[in-house]
């Protein structure tokens, strides 16, 4: 894990609907440029969904750490 300071942490483990990516998009909308958002997800789909959206929306995927049963995604809002 990097030492980046996390602005907001979202624990979306076990939350199928609206789901980790949707919650991340909401947090990016509410946040300010430079914010670093951490999302914990146990949803397998997040491993492809979250990086794909971050790339499409042109933010920065700072880190992805996979642990037992879940992954942690760290995203910086860059615009």
């Amino acid at each position: 894990m990097t030492t980046t300071e996390i602005t907001r942490s979202i624990d979306a483990r076990g939350m199928a609907c609206p789901g980790p990516l949707m919650t991340l998009i909401g947090a990016i909308r509410e946040g300010s440029v430079g914010d670093v958002i951490e999302v914990l997800s146990s949803d397998e789909g997040s491993k492809s969904d979250i990086p794909a959206w971050v790339a499409k929306a042109r933010h920065e995927l700072v880190d992805v750490v996979t642990e037992d049963g879940y992954s942690t995604f760290v995203i910086r809002k860059v615009r």
Binding site: I10, D11, A12, R13, G14, M15, A16, C17, P18, G19, P20, L21, M22, T23, I25, G26, I28, R29, E30, G31, D43, G45, D49, A52, W53, K56, A57, R58
Partner: protein, 394 residues
């Protein structure tokens, strides 16, 4: 002296929680519901109003008629919560003292947050909005119809997908389907957030000729040009635009300094306690939990709230916590629907759309007033499966 329990909000969560607390604690508690209008609205019905299938009067009842006789109702707007003093300040002056506070203030629509949205789009998330959309649809003679989402989180995540299916059927019946292009502008890389549900419904969308644009989170609307633009930097042209408006938590939550930037209450996913406050609990749309903002969520949370308030009042160990139960329907048009039932530990496995689930939703809509607010829905009803609330270790 009975414990003073104040419940802010008279929707599904607040009403059911108030009734269950009164039932559980009897003379040990005096429960007061604070509701600004004195009316209880059945919001899932707005979708049907927009499509001309329901009238507004069916969707509203007096809150008093839904509360147990022992529950007081204050038709007032709460303007400030003072956690340290244990009071709620009311708009018309005066305040209410509480020993335990339940916040069920729901979500509010903030259409002005998105430039051009009010002038350039229609919605079915309010009764007025649904009635305006119904009028517009009657005038509509074909063109590009786009359906999208202008803010996250929003209530009832399946609603935009349901609307596209139902409006497709509506336009077909009106004989103008061949003149209309229907497209769902999805915030995600599929039609719906739950992958299994998306896999199930996307072939039906293709079969009905409903287009899908992915990763399109509405940022601005340009009514003059008939263009909607996304957070991801793309745009789509429209003749009729139907958008889910942005939502925020209640003003009183924000004004009291209790909410996050969106006005949602930081809430424990199991205990439903508001972080940092032992005697304040929250449920329904008001929380920050990354879970569906829906009546169903509030419905399954309310018994947990009642049980926890009872244990706090009696000084006993809490019996159970919220296990993430949600159950909702997803209409796929032509008299069919599927269902989504899940909790924190069990992802949904939606069945193939069929008539039975459509009928179940129809029945649920009609039985709502006599069942849900009163806690009369049996635990083993299909709406209540598949799993029980979890025990919490504290």
């Amino acid at each position: 002296m009975p414990a003073r329990v104040v419940v802010l909000g008279g929707g599904v969560g607040g009403t059911l929680a108030a009734n269950l607390i009164d039932k559980e604690l009897g003379r040990d508690a005096q429960v007061t519901v604070v509701n600004p209008t004195g009316m209880h609205d059945y919001q899932p019905g707005y979708l049907y109003v927009a499509l001309g299938e329901a009238k507004g009067h069916w969707l509203s009842r007096e809150e008093r008629s839904l509360l147990r006789p022992g529950v007081d109702l204050a038709i007032e707007t709460a303007v400030r919560i003072h956690p340290d003093a244990g009071t709620v300040q009311l708009e018309r002056g005066g305040s209410l003292a509480w020993d335990y506070l339940v916040i069920a203030t729901g979500a509010r629509l903030v259409p002005d947050d998105v430039p051009g949205l009010v002038e350039g789009s229609f919605e079915f998330y309010s009764l007025d909005g649904a009635e305006r959309l119904a009028q517009e649809l009657r005038r509509f003679h074909g063109g590009r119809l786009k359906v999208g989402v202008a803010g996250i989180p929003y209530k009832c995540p399946p609603a935009p997908v349901e609307f596209t299916f139902m409006v497709e059927e509506y336009l077909r019946k009106r004989g103008i389907r061949d003149r209309t292009e229907i497209e769902l502008l999805s915030p995600l890389n599929r039609a719906f957030s739950i992958e299994s549900a998306s896999t199930l419904i996307q072939p039906y969308m293709e079969e009905r000729g409903i287009g899908l644009t992915t990763f399109f989170n509405v940022e601005t609307v340009d009514p003059g040009a008939g263009v909607v633009r996304s957070l991801e930097g793309e745009e789509a042209e429209y003749d009729l635009l139907v958008l889910v408006p942005p939502h925020r938590g209640a003003q009183v939550v924000t004004d009291s300094g209790l909410g996050d930037p969106g006005g949602w209450l930081p809430t424990d996913r199991h205990t439903l306690g508001v972080d940092g406050y032992e005697r304040i609990l929250a449920l329904g749309d008001a929380t920050d939990l990354p879970i569906s903002k829906s009546g169903s969520t509030a419905h399954f949370e309310a018994p947990v709230i009642a049980s926890r308030i009872a244990s706090l009042v009696r000084g006993t160990a809490p019996r159970n916590g919220y296990g993430g139960r949600v159950m909702c329907f997803l209409e796929t048009g032509d008299g069919k629907a599927t269902s989504l039932r899940f909790d924190y530990d069990h992802p949904p496995q939606p069945p193939k759309p069929n008539r039975a689930w459509h009928m179940a939703k129809w029945l649920f809509n009609r039985l709502y007033w006599e069942t849900v607010p009163h806690g009369r829905l049996p635990e083993n009803a299909p709406f209540s499966k598949p799993t029980a609330n979890v025990s919490t270790k504290e």
